[in-house]
């Protein structure tokens, strides 16, 4: 290995142009998740964010010190601005989802979401942390390059052709790395716990009443089966952090990840976390495979598209796949 080859590998990994479909799809799911998060927060918005709520701004600042991005510090804590932040964030998340003024709205969503989190960090969970971190890199991504109002407008004005331009994937790579780190660090920390090694960890998790959602069938609570589940969890988390980078292993690992997160969604009440993780996993799907899936869908789903439009899109997808 030489320094030159290292630089070449870096440039290839971060800058070699590719179709932006994975990050575009991620944008749509990201927007939908932020919208859902806001809907879930709305009934208790006043409890969490009024100056005389469960945590005052002064208390929050005394616990979490340091300069932070916080629009409330600029606009104040009045009822008007508290509600304005909610509605602006909601509207921006919607526009981000449909890809209208995508870049600007990704910035607004990130700034306001980070501000809302920083105002009351005591109610945020790992899902919120992922939304903040991936939202940060999403601002730099070509997230409106396809499946967006922006693209539709660009095509209508003749600024873009039928083909979606290729883009450097560096922002998508950072989202992938962020996700990979989540799994690797979780695996690393768990591997230092005795109960994860002796296979009893999930026994304790299953009996935490505050997390229970649907009843877990008795078979899965058998001590031997619990041990297998515990070690499988470790193995899948390691795979999602490390093995996912190998193309040959990626789809089996993604499938294992989906099964893990759907199982957790069934058994545990950690709203949105599993969906945020699954949405972020989309960034690991090869663009060519997404294009293939799109072509397959377009041929089967009775969208109101003319036959030539379907043929054109399918031809575009096929051309991308062959590259």
């Amino acid at each position: 290995m030489s320094l030159r080859s290292l630089v070449r590998a870096w440039n290839e990994f971060f800058f070699a142009p590719q179709p932006p479909l994975p990050v575009v799809l991620f944008r749509i799911f990201y927007g939908l998740l932020v919208l859902t998060d806001l809907v879930l927060l709305r009934p208790d918005w006043q409890t969490w964010f009024v100056p005389r709520g469960l945590i005052t701004p002064e208390t929050m600042r005394s616990i979490e010190t340091g300069a932070r991005i916080d629009v409330f510090a600029i606009v104040g804590q009045s009822a008007f601005w508290r509600d304005a932040v909610f509605w602006i964030l909601l509207a921006s998340a919607f526009m981000l989802t449909v890809g209208f003024r995508t870049r600007a709205n990704s910035i607004v969503v990130w700034v306001l979401l980070a501000s809302v989190h920083q105002r009351n960090l005591m109610i945020t969970n790992s899902g919120d942390t992922i939304l903040r971190a991936t939202g940060f890199f999403l601002m730099f991504a070509p997230a409106g390059a396809a499946y967006s109002v922006d693209r539709w407008l660009r095509r209508r004005r003749g600024r873009e052709g039928a083909e979606i331009p290729l883009h450097s994937p560096w922002a998508q790579r950072m989202i992938q790395i962020e996700l990979s780190l989540v799994y690797l660090m979780t695996f690393w920390t768990k591997s230092q716990g005795q109960s994860w090694i002796d296979g009893t960890a999930l026994h304790y998790v299953y009996h935490l009443d505050q997390f229970r959602r649907f009843p877990v069938p008795a078979f899965f609570l058998d001590p031997f089966v619990v041990s297998i589940e515990t070690w499988l969890t470790l193995a899948i988390e390691f795979s999602l952090g490390a093995l996912i980078w190998f193309k040959e292993l990626r789809y089996p690992v993604l499938l294992a990840g989906l099964i893990l997160h759907l199982s957790l969604e069934y058994a545990m009440n950690v709203p949105l976390f599993q969906w945020i993780m699954m949405a972020t996993l989309i960034t690991f799907v090869e663009p060519a495979d997404l294009a293939r899936a799109q072509a397959w869908l377009l041929q089967r789903i009775p969208l109101r598209l003319s036959a030539p439009a379907v043929a054109r899109r399918t031809a575009w997808s096929a051309a991308r796949i062959s590259r």
Binding site: L54, I55, T189, P271
Partner: protein, 191 residues
């Protein structure tokens, strides 16, 4: 008419493109360094020094993160936080933050942040600065003009999850409780 000189290697990116790539690479390298040094579960002096360097950036951007879900050990406690409210006429009432195990499916989605706040924040001694705000908030929830609350005691309730048995039979441990904060309500707290 002067002709522009043909570039030596048309495949080579322009100077502006190379400069942009260099700036982006520096940004990526810094972020990789900052994120990894922040979340790596090592406590060496070197890692600590790196964290101190990137701390202002991580806090400001909200990129701070640590990944220790159910790790290194999952919690072995079922717990919730409640309060005992004393009123001016001498009677007392018990109240608790929403308990997920008592809620329906939809409410669990909406109210989960109360669990997060109460069990992962308010319950812990190192978050004692949260306690007066919580006591005042509970007092305001129970305010009535003729009979205002005069004191709020915050209570931890917990039940240990016993280790697994060879048969898989599970018997939860009894609940215990402890008043961890006593607050005398001042008239101004209720406004």
């Amino acid at each position: 008419m002067p002709q522009s000189k043909p570039r030596k290697n048309p495949d080579r990116p322009s100077f502006a493109a190379r400069a942009a790539r260099a700036v982006i690479s520096a940004f990526l390298a810094f972020n990789l360094f900052a994120i990894v040094s922040w979340c790596v579960p090592l406590e060496s002096p070197l890692v600590q020094a790196c964290r101190n360097e990137v701390r202002p950036y991580m806090l400001w951007t909200g990129l701070f993160q640590n990944w220790d879900m159910f790790a290194p050990e999952p919690s072995k406690l079922n717990s919730y936080i409640g309060a005992q409210i004393a009123f001016r006429d001498g009677h007392t009432a018990l109240w608790s933050f929403p308990r997920m195990e008592n809620l329906g499916l939809v409410d669990k989605y909406f109210k989960e942040r109360y669990r997060r706040y109460a069990n992962n924040g308010l319950r812990l001694d190192n978050n004692a600065r949260l306690w007066p705000d919580a006591a005042r908030y509970i007092a305001r929830l129970h305010d009535s003009p003729g009979n205002p609350p005069v004191a709020v005691n915050l209570i931890r309730y917990w039940s240990v999850v016993p280790p697994p048995t060879s048969t898989g039979a599970y018997q939860p441990a009894p609940w215990q409780q402890y008043i961890f904060f006593r607050y005398q309500v001042a008239p101004g707290d209720l406004r």
